[in-house]
């Protein structure tokens, strides 16, 4: 069984010390300086810690790239609210293509815990919840073992920490859906405002951050905010990312590198290029929720601003190389099916729109659609983007629209050819989406007794 390949370019921060072997127990984490920053942080004022985060310009690694220090500064101080203050860590990691938080939890669970305790100090919170996706069993066990060890070593102070397991729902990664789920409800997003910083978990002030963001916090303090702010692509994309390289490359893996390396460098130099001597056709950058990158954009630096100039997003650090065996219509269809399956159903453009996208894409794929349907497809995308309660709707429409715009000839070819020109040679031919099961529950023919 192959293990995930782990690598780094430059000096790793989040994965420091854990590239060769995971640092799972407290002693080995302490041996690389673990928990020293917590001690330092607790000796300074919460305000001071938040200021350091602001200075470092550490941004959220969960997808939205929001400045972490500023978000922490929105949390009212305990003298201003009568309610408890919560820290919630988003370990729901379900964005297709993303596997970095899993590697962080498996390799440096104590760095995440140390980050939690520092962030909790920064906002004067005594209650930490880590919401981990339900499918992550080994990861849960490693993290829970680390938590118990840290608690036994007296590191928690007066903070309680609960690792809470989800139960299979992509939407619970959206911060307000996560809070609903953590309150024991169906995971449907809330409308904002009020923002979680003011009314989050149990209507109390709540800071929500991604695993990688929080696991970076001890390193921000260790190297110092000024130094951290110079790493990567300052001023906006500071520090490193654990890039999730996958798809048709020779050496897929989790690679920590500074923001600003190019997609070409990651895919060709670090990842060894396209596998089986094939040609690169497109790159899924940021995750499946965003527009795709085309090969002519390969020299774009992987930082928020450079990508933004091309209408692309850094998302959760995903880079998935897609080779020329892949039918782009089938790719768009499979992506749309995912969002249709995961739509929580709360708002109409997303609930209905994702179904329309799937229906039209199916018709394009089997060649029964017309040229007009391609316009309808773009029109449906237009009616979804910016018109939904949460970003899941946009996440369905943006990749589909970018596939149609960038690969219009290939879409047309399906109509002219009466189906996929690649036929059975397409890597995605006939791919089974769980959404087609119509049931979340497999039903046996005969119930075994």
């Amino acid at each position: 069984m192959a293990e995930t390949t782990i690598g780094a370019e430059g000096t790793p921060l989040v994965l420091a010390g854990a590239l060769e072997e995971p640092l799972r127990d407290l002693a080995s984490y302490r041996a690389v300086g673990g928990y020293a920053q917590l001690e330092k942080a607790r000796a300074t004022s919460p305000h001071d810690v938040t200021e350091q985060l602001i200075q470092s310009n550490l941004r959220g690694r969960g997808g939205a790239f929001f400045p972490a220090g500023r978000k922490a500064s929105f949390i009212p101080t305990p003298d201003k609210v009568a309610k408890p203050i919560y820290l919630t860590v988003n370990a729901d990691e379900s964005e297709p293509g993303t596997f970095k938080d899993r590697e962080i939890m498996l390799r440096v669970p104590h760095r995440l815990i140390e980050g939690c305790l520092i962030a909790a100090h920064a906002i004067s919170s005594k209650h930490v919840f880590i919401y981990i996706r339900g499918e992550y069993s080994a990861e849960y066990q490693v993290l829970e073992a680390a938590r118990i060890e840290a608690e036994a070593a007296g590191l928690m102070g007066d903070v309680t920490m609960v690792v809470h397991r989800g139960a299979g729902a992509y939407i619970c990664g959206e911060e307000t859906a996560l809070l609903e789920s953590l309150e024991g409800k169906r995971g449907q997003p809330r409308s904002k405002p009020p923002f979680p910083a003011i009314q989050g978990l149990y209507a109390s002030p709540t800071l929500i951050n991604n695993v990688e963001t929080i696991a970076t916090v001890p390193k921000v303090l260790e190297v110092g905010p000024e130094t951290f702010a110079e790493i990567g692509a300052p001023p906006d994309s500071t520090g490193t990312r654990v890039f999730c390289l996958s798809g048709n490359v020779v050496r897929p893996g989790a690679y920590e590198a500074p923001h600003g390396i190019t997609a070409r460098h990651l895919i060709y130099d670090i990842g060894g290029g396209i596998a089986d001597g094939r040609e690169l056709k497109a790159v899924m950058v940021g995750g499946s929720s965003f527009p795709v990158m085309v090969p002519s954009e390969l020299d774009t630096a992987l930082d928020a601003n450079s990508l933004g100039q091309k209408g692309l997003f850094i998302g959760s650090g995903v880079v998935t190389a897609i080779d020329d065996r892949t039918c782009i219509v089938q790719f768009a269809l499979r992506v749309a099916q995912f969002y249709m399956h995961e739509s929580c159903g709360k708002c109409t453009p997303c609930r209905v729109g994702t179904r329309w996208l799937v229906q039209i894409l199916r018709a394009v794929e089997d060649g029964s659609a017309t040229d007009n349907d391609l316009e309808t497809l773009l029109d449906v995308c237009d009616r979804i983007i910016g018109k939904c309660l949460c970003v899941l709707g946009d996440s369905a429409a943006m990749p589909v629209a970018s596939c149609v715009t960038n690969f219009r000839e290939e879409f047309r070819a399906h109509l002219e050819h009466g189906g996929c020109p690649l036929g059975a040679d397409s890597s995605l031919a006939g791919l089974f989406a769980p959404v087609d099961q119509h049931s979340h529950t497999p039903v046996p023919q005969e119930v075994p007794v």
Partner: protein
């Protein structure tokens, strides 16, 4: 320990016991294999909720089984990163080997096969979760061995 006392212990970790619905349903499913009407009643009683409320929550999440499933669970990722490498071939190999389609259970009740969304192991495709443990880089050639393991184990 009874299910009710296990649930109450977990509920004690949260500021509000309703937060323990997902962990409680997980405990019930671990015990019974799936969530029957009776299981919902037990969970609801332990948390002072109604069975209907617990059912409405459970039905939102993919990991809860509202009907009986096989003794073993095989879940094949069919999202795009596995898909563009070999997910379809791996899924088909399981279908052949088990004689069932995704979403079905073998007639002896031994194995349920499911196609699932991205499992977060995209750099080692195809990911197959066998009884919730990830197998990485699974190829169609590995499938007979995995099925054999399940049938004998």
């Amino acid at each position: 320990m009874s299910l009710a006392s296990e649930i109450r212990e977990v509920a004690g970790r949260y500021p509000s016991s309703t937060s323990a619905v997902l962990p409680a349903l997980r405990l019930a499913q671990q015990r019974y294999g799936w969530l029957s009407r009776e299981a919902f009643e037990e969970v609801a009683d332990a948390l002072y909720l109604t069975p209907a409320y617990c059912m409405s929550v459970a039905s939102f999440y993919d990991m809860f089984h509202l009907e009986p499933v096989g003794e073993h669970m095989v879940e094949v990722c069919t999202n795009v990163c596995c898909g563009i490498v070999n997910a379809q071939a791996v899924l088909e190999a399981f279908e052949r080997e088990l004689g069932i389609a995704p979403g079905e259970t073998t007639s002896d009740g031994a194995v349920t096969l499911r196609a699932v969304e991205c499992l977060g192991g995209c750099s080692t495709p195809t990911i197959v979760a066998v009884d919730h443990r990830y197998r990485q880089s699974v190829t169609p050639d590995d499938v007979p061995g995995i099925v054999e393991e399940l049938r004998s184990g």
